[in-house]
């Protein structure tokens, strides 16, 4: 491609006889034009090849296998193919395999080499053909700049659609697995069942392998932890925001605002460690001295630490909206003789309330989706309780425990995680949409 660029540029200079004013575009654009004509066809071939190579080779290898192997059922055949691939990749020593499998592996490897050489040849052929075509098109009137720029614009548009494809990808991947889950477990059982024990029986008649997928305990646990977090975060965050925007001297503001925002930059796994090793034992000891029995994986510890994490979130969002309240409203209140705190409580906060509520909604969606703190500090047992001193489990904890480790995509146990993920996605999406809508509507009021 570099060579194409060079030749394209030189060709442009040649057709213009060295006088670039005669050209439609600058010489470099002819270079880019040629390079694109060389690179894009070659890249398309490469992508297509990579996509289909494995399937074609596999089919060829299967065709070469002896009769008794090819007549196996589809699943067994897949096992054989996996074995062959493992040998090819060097994960299994070839000497231990059966001779026909080893032979197939050799054949696989051979085909791979052929394929790589063929790929290189075809790519070169297409690239050079493209480049030759582009070179032949280069003349004084050729509008190379426009074509190159249009290509770039197409690339930009393609990139900007990625956001949509990501959302689509999330929705589809989670939805499909969730639908598969709801085929084996009725959706009403999932949404309204009171029992959560996602063990499926490995052998029939196993004890405690009923496989109950009632997610209510998880929802309640998630709500409990989030409520505790908000009880910590909202008063502290809101009052800090009020103090910082209304009372604090500029020096204190400049100092403490970034300090509070450090809290938002700390990775959640650090909070999880803090919750599990410092806060939980602290609450436990404190409870013992009061005669209370606080579980070492209590919802309280996880919730409080999550609240600490969310403080800067609440404070910076409310700070923004309080700051946006016009000074004239405050001046009006002062001129009627209100004290500063009265102005804040009766004038500023009501004016900023929609924005503050939106900020709190965003914080709630953050709390619901937060994973590491609860994984490390909250428990696994799905207790249906609203007692913050007991151990509860949350949606995110269950997603993690269900999906870390075993990876069979056909057991309801794994698929349940996707159903939970779907719930989580839908709930946070609704919260975010409401919050963004409120924020947008509110901002327009004073602009």
């Amino acid at each position: 491609m570099v060579a194409c660029f060079y030749f394209g540029r030189r060709r442009a200079l040649v057709v213009s006889n060295g006088d670039i004013r005669k050209l439609n575009s600058l010489p470099v654009y002819y270079g880019y034009y040629t390079a694109l004509w060389c690179g894009i066809p070659a890249f398309i071939i490469f992508a297509f090849w990579q996509f289909s190579e494995s399937a074609i080779i596999t089919n060829l290898v299967i065709a070469g296998l002896p009769e008794d192997v090819t007549s196996l059922s589809k699943q067994q055949l897949n096992l054989v193919i996996n074995e062959i691939r493992n040998i090819v990749n060097g994960n299994i020593v070839a000497g231990t395999a059966r001779p026909e499998i080893a032979a197939a592996a050799d054949r696989y490897r051979e085909l791979q080499t052929i394929s790589n050489i063929a790929l290189f040849v075809v790519m070169m052929a297409f690239g050079l053909t493209g480049a030759a075509y582009a070179l032949s098109r280069v003349d004084q009137q050729h509008r190379a700049r426009n074509k190159v720029e249009n290509t770039i614009l197409v690339f930009l548009i393609a990139c900007s659609t990625i956001a949509i494809f990501t959302t689509l990808g999330i929705v589809l991947s989670v939805l499909f697995e969730a639908i598969r889950f709801f085929q084996s477990v009725p959706i009403t059982d999932f949404l309204f069942g009171l029992q959560w024990s996602p063990q499926t029986a490995i052998r029939p008649g196993q004890v405690g392998a009923s496989g109950a997928f009632g997610a209510v305990p998880l929802f309640v646990g998630t709500m409990l932890v989030s409520v505790i977090a908000m009880v910590v975060a909202v008063p502290i965050g809101l009052m800090s925001a009020i103090y910082l925007s209304e009372y604090a001297s500029s020096r204190l503001r400049a100092l403490s605002k970034p300090m509070l925002e450090i809290l938002a930059g700390i990775p959640t796994v650090v909070y999880g460690f803090f919750a599990a090793l410092t806060v939980a034992p602290f609450f436990r000891g404190w409870g013992e001295s009061l005669g209370l029995d606080i579980s070492s994986e209590s919802a309280l510890a996880a919730g409080v630490v999550m609240g600490i994490m969310i403080i800067p979130f609440v404070s910076s969002l409310s700070d923004d909206v309080i700051y946006a309240v016009p000074q004239s409203l405050r001046d009006g209140a002062y001129s009627l003789g209100a004290t500063q705190s009265e102005t804040i409580r009766k004038i500023v906060i009501p004016a900023a309330l929609p924005g503050i509520v939106a900020g709190i909604l965003l914080a709630v969606s953050r709390a619901i989706g937060e994973t590491m703190i609860v994984v490390m500090a909250a428990g696994l047992a799905a207790n249906l309780t609203i007692n913050p001193l007991e151990s509860v489990t949350t949606v995110t904890v269950q997603i993690v425990t269900l999906l870390v480790g075993d990876q069979e995509f056909d057991s309801p146990k794994t698929l349940a995680a996707f159903a939970l993920g779907l719930m989580l996605f839908v709930v946070t999406l609704i919260l975010n949409v409401i919050a963004l809508y409120v924020v947008k509507k509110y901002r327009e009021q004073y602009e």
């Binding site: 930009l156 990625i162 103090y243 930059g265 500063q340």
Partner: protein
Amino acid sequence: MNKLASSRPKTIDLINASLPKRHLSEKLFRSIGLISIMMGLMFLFMLFYGIVSKGYTAFQQTFIQLEMNFDEQLLDPEGTRHRDALSTVDYSGLVKASLGKMFPDVTDRNEKRLLYSLVSTGATYQLRKMVMDKPALIGQAQQVWVPADDEVDMLIKGHVMRDVPETERRLRDVQISWLDQLEAKEKLVLKFNTAFFTNGDSREPELAGIWGALMGSIYTLIVTLILSFPMGVATAIYLEEFAPKNKWTDLIEVNINNLAAVPSIIFGLLGLAVFINFMSFPRSAPLVGGLVLAFMTLPTIIIASRGALKSVPPSIREAALGVGASAMQTVYFHVLPLAIPGILTGTIIGMARALGETAPLLMIGMVAFIVNIPSNIFDPATVLPVQIFLWADSPERAFVERTSAAIMVLLGFLFIMNALAIILRKKFERRW
């Protein structure tokens, strides 16, 4: 009329009477605000204090000096110096022999076992490496510092107290008396823990290090950066400079804003379902981790880049268009160079977030126990925050300080990245 007015209290009196109460509530309100800020800062302090006070000791490690006799009879009885032969010899025998020589009065089998357990199993590998690197050592004697077992390490650092009853601690009284003897002979000291920075993960706390996780983090971030930076900037340029205002671009914007607030674990589910299950990419690979994190940081980069592009004044564009540049040339030669500092600041902040992210990586299998240092983006690897998660789950007492120390390293990196972003902003910020 006049009478009526005098019978009612005057407004000013009412106000004056209410003033003390109102001023009190003013003071109260104000102090509640101040207390809130103080509490926030106190939490921050507690967090840092808790981690530093638990973790700083992990940068040191207890070593025991052994008088090592590289016995030719034991190591290489045939005298071939063949590498294969040397690598399979039982090096723990050397350690045992050396310890036995230091404490000749220990003869009981159980006591011997206790004695040998004072030295880390890593000593064996250390000796093997020494001999493999330099076969000339065979037949010579040398003083070697080997790492002590993690229980010894905890005792020396004071994390395990001597005065708890013997049945409640892992080290027996005899072992402690041996350690005291060693310490008196200055054969037991605390030294800088290089293994923590150069080793991969290990089941033995004294041998576990963060280098593997760090390399995993670096590979993952490289993949993230390569994918999310060009795509994010391209999206921002399109939306800010070229896109018409219509339903389609509105849809894109709503999507970007929503993705910015989707819980990170959902991105993990996406990665698991699409990249691992559907496209069958290798599990635990930085490639997949980087892809997932790229999707996650994309909204951050797009939003920051749009802000930076927006802050370039329209006069620049008009001037460029006025002298005959095309729209594309205007953006690439005039707008983008002016917006680059802001874009880079946003990218660094996005990368810092990606560096600290754990939950989506748990989904795609980056939680495996991996001893080897990854050497490319396809090797199974783990990343720093996941390593912290794994160590925090380990029961050994010694992993607590390692976890805290790993957190300190992680926070150090985040601090550097954020400081870089702030410097960049301060240095190149332009007011128009």
